[in-house]
């Protein structure tokens, strides 16, 4: 187990203290944040995603800091979206030149893959993706018939 340095400001309320405790315990079992890495089960790691629903579309968000677009592969078959890629080692292509001293290395790297089944009623032909600030966003528009409509109530 690693010892974690607390920020100098100790949280003032007990509420935030327990939030933090929960967070630290979760972190112990989080392969992304510990040294266990993907080698534990020898399969590609599944990056965490958020899926947001808007009136006209879904958006899938995935944190991939430092991963360039060309190292991400996004495919769609029927209603199944597959996100694949490789996160390069921190010093990849930059071999040790002598006096580099590593103090802390918490970064997970290796290949990753995640498969997501899209809900019914999405238009898989119009899926688009972009990345910004290390977050990949995949936009999946809904088909017109799946969009929520307001029905006018007519009084007689």
């Amino acid at each position: 187990m690693r010892l974690m340095r607390m920020p100098n400001g100790v949280p003032s309320s007990t509420g935030s203290y327990f939030d933090r405790l929960e967070d630290e315990i979760n972190r112990l079992f989080d392969p992304e944040a510990t040294e266990l890495g993907p080698g534990l089960l020898d399969r590609p790691a599944a990056p965490r995603v958020d899926i947001l629903e808007f009136d006209d579309r879904f958006e899938l968000l995935c944190d991939l800091p430092g991963v360039t677009d060309k190292d991400i592969e996004l495919t769609i078959a029927a209603n199944v979206l597959t996100l694949k890629g490789e996160k390069k080692a921190p010093f990849a292509g930059d071999e040790q030149k002598g006096d580099r001293k590593l103090y802390r290395d918490e970064i997970w790297y290796g290949s990753f893959q995640r498969t997501i089944s899209l809900p019914q009623g999405v238009d898989s032909d119009r899926v688009s993706a972009g990345s910004k600030d290390g977050v990949l966003t995949v936009r999946v528009p809904k088909r017109d018939e799946a969009k929520q409509r307001t029905i006018q109530i007519e009084s007689r």
Partner: protein
């Protein structure tokens, strides 16, 4: 001072790599989702404070799946006298923050020339 801005929200510590090379300490911290305008890197007395604010949920959206860690990124490092405070530089690229801290000449390891004769 630093503690005050934390009272409201839960924060996460950014994970990263820290190394020293040629008299420069490098910090490489992963802070996905933080824009340059929402990032605050400052030196306060003997503390290097790094605070990256993440934007809230966009309007009209609701979560269907929520697995990513929430909260601002926050980390405080103690900077001692061996670091040249005027030369601290930070760069944000593709969700990764790079900070370089130059060590003062006096604390760099120095090889002493041995003369013969």
């Amino acid at each position: 001072m630093a503690a005050k801005e934390l009272e409201k929200a839960a924060t996460v510590r950014p994970v990263g790599t820290i190394w020293e090379e040629n008299g420069v300490v490098h910090l490489r911290l992963e802070m996905p989702g933080v824009e340059k305008k929402d990032l605050d890197v400052r030196v306060e007395d003997d503390q290097l404070v790094i605070h990256g604010r993440r934007t809230e949920l966009p309007e009209g959206a609701r979560h269907v799946v929520r697995e990513r860690r929430r909260g601002d990124y926050y980390q405080v490092y103690t900077v001692d006298d061996s670091v040249d405070r005027d030369k601290i530089a930070a760069n944000l690229d593709n969700g990764v923050l790079y900070v370089t801290l130059h060590l003062k000449e006096a604390v760099k390891p120095r090889r002493i020339e041995i003369k013969t004769g």
